[in-house]
């Protein structure tokens, strides 16, 4: 299994690349070796590597030299540092899990100083994910990221002096859909006008790939998706978690420290798929599909419903290599069907 994995793993961009073949694709200006990435907040490349280092130094090095995702999406960053919600924060449920992490992060300043440099050193494109509680929050964080990126080697939205601009390696995902913070965020993503306002304000300051990540906790997602696309989003990420609740078995009080949490995992897959299918039929921008992806059949399902890229969330907890494994399996599945990636995308509608 290790042998097989190592045999199939490419060295990332610029290397001789033994990544899954025939799966190369694009998300706006960003080229991807295959369509499988991680979902924000469910996969911390550096923490996994550090844990692996405790197990095996070489494995950790290999992991960072060749991360098991086509692009890496770090956890949401907000303007100010946040400690997140009180514990307990997670609970397994039938076919899935609830989480109420609550976007703990060091804030944009620390992010730019400490996280961004090592993110940029990864041999993969990155899609930064940002959150906030007001339109201004999103603009502020996006602007800070842009300034930082423009200042890097090869920075600036224009390609100059033979250096490749960061535009082909860095995207931005707006988390306007987190159910675990009790203002902003999800309330923005539940309203077409608010969504349009945030997206167009960020569009002003962010020249690169811009994705809006939407919440499924709405009566009708289509107007929201349309509003985001019309306001300038290059693509949409569907979906964030479904708001849920569990009680402590003994006390019969809410189990999670934050009372409610977000449901993810295989349990929600049929629900997530419905949103991707509906939005894909109504809106003409690329979609990043997610929600319970666990097997290559799930990947095919999201692609067929109209997603161009598929993200692995909670299933990556039990197997951090999952996105890469799925890419390898996707290659085989397409071969078995004698179909190209492009042919599968959207085929449920045809």
């Amino acid at each position: 299994m290790n042998e097989e994995r190592e045999a199939r793993v490419g060295g990332g961009e610029g290397t001789s690349g033994r990544a899954p073949r025939g799966l190369a694709t694009r998300l706006g200006p960003i080229a991807l070796a295959h369509p499988i990435i991680n979902a924000s907040g469910t996969f911390d490349l550096f923490e996994v590597a550090a844990s692996l280092a405790g197990v095996d130094e070489a494995a950790a090095t290999a992991f960072l030299a060749d991360p098991p995702v086509a692009a890496y999406v770090p956890k949401t960053v907000t303007p100010l540092p946040r400690t997140g919600n009180p514990p307990p924060r997670i609970l397994e449920t039938a076919g899935g899990m609830l989480n109420s992490i609550g976007l703990p992060n060091g804030g944009i300043e620390t992010f730019v100083a400490r996280e961004l440099p090592r993110l940029l050193s990864l041999p993969r494109p990155i899609i930064l994910n940002i959150g906030g509680f007001s339109r201004q929050d999103y603009v502020e964080v996006a602007a800070a990221l842009r300034v930082a990126l423009d200042g890097t080697r090869g920075g600036g939205p224009d390609e100059t002096a033979g250096e490749v601009s960061w535009l082909s390696r860095v995207g931005l995902e707006l988390n306007i859909s987190c159910p675990n913070v009790h203002s902003g965020c999800i309330s923005i993503g539940s309203d077409p006008d608010e969504t349009a306002a945030v997206v167009s304000a960020v569009r002003e300051v962010w020249p690169g790939l811009l994705l809006a990540k939407l919440t499924p906790n709405v009566t009708d997602i289509v107007p929201i998706a349309r509003a985001a696309a019309d306001a300038g989003a290059d693509g949409l990420s569907l979906v964030n978690t479904f708001k849920g609740l569990a009680l402590d078995r003994l006390s019969l009080k809410p189990f999670l420290g934050a009372v409610t949490g977000g449901l993810s995992g295989p349990a929600i897959k049929p629900l997530a798929l419905r949103f991707v299918y509906e939005v894909s039929a109504a809106v003409d921008v690329p979609l990043v599909g997610m929600g319970g992806v666990d097997s290559v059949q799930d990947v095919l399902d999201f692609l067929a419903c109209g997603a161009s890229v598929v993200a692995v969330g909670a299933s990556g907890f039990r197997d951090p290599w999952k996105p890469h494994t799925l890419a390898v399996e996707l290659e085989a599945a397409l071969e078995a069907r004698s179909m190209t990636l492009a042919e599968v995308i959207g085929m449920a509608h045809r």
């Binding site: 996994v48 405790g54 997140g84 307990p88 997670i90 397994e92 989480n99 039990r318 197997d319």
Partner: protein
Amino acid sequence: MKDRSLATVLCSTQVGSMVLVRVRVSGWRPARPGQFAMLQAEGSSCFLPRAFSVHSQGEATPDGAEVSFLIAPIGAATHDLATLSPGDRVWTLGPLGRGFGAVDDMRRSGGRAGSGRLLLVGGGVGVAPFLLVLESLLQRAIARPEDAPTQVSVLFGFRDAAQAESLALFVPAVDALCAAGVPAGLEAICEDGSLGRPGLVTELLTESVRVGDTVLACGAHAMCEAVWRVCRQAGDDVDVWFSLEAGMACGIGSCLGCVMTMADGSMARVCREGPVFAGRDVFGESRHPCAAPGPHGGGS
């Protein structure tokens, strides 16, 4: 271990109300005492793996190592693990987390600051990590006798006779330690009186602990709190370490789901900053511990 790997069950033995599962893991890198692994029975109906202390490990060979876990079947995932048969397979990721660093440190402190005495306090299935602690002390006692603790006391508390059967798993290791020249003893107490007077492990601890001792504890949160109180009463120079429990999704620092609120209000991940924490960090200095790390009762 290079990777999450599919270990093979070698044998599964009922030990009272617990089950001892021995697996062969390919590429296993030796665990330090107190480290854990994320386990998930192949085909389990549970979505997530669960954390289990490494109970014991054999030598690593090119074929992998034999590693054992002591499992108390309390819910769906532990039930799936406890009913495995030889040949069945288990997804295994580990060893993970920071173990009982004090096991290494105190060897030397014996001659210097502390008493050199090591007290291992376990409650219920919280006894699990202490076999690896004893095995590791034995190895060092043989390799470098001068670094051994001056004395090792194993103090276990159980709920009932069925739980207390696990005691037998530790007797040979304690005997071996004595044979290697480290004075070691094993005492246990049972809430239902099936091991003599009924009582809690903290009663044994109260009788034993003294200034300068190093105490390693693993068990339900209520037990840990009580251990902390007893040790504080014995004096500030008792060095206390707790192996804590929390629900985990990933076990490797990705999800931020396993945090506990420390005494200073900060959040620490049990899987990365722990599972072993210094008593002071968990409970602070107050005599009336207040920072309860959530409702997850552990280990008992």
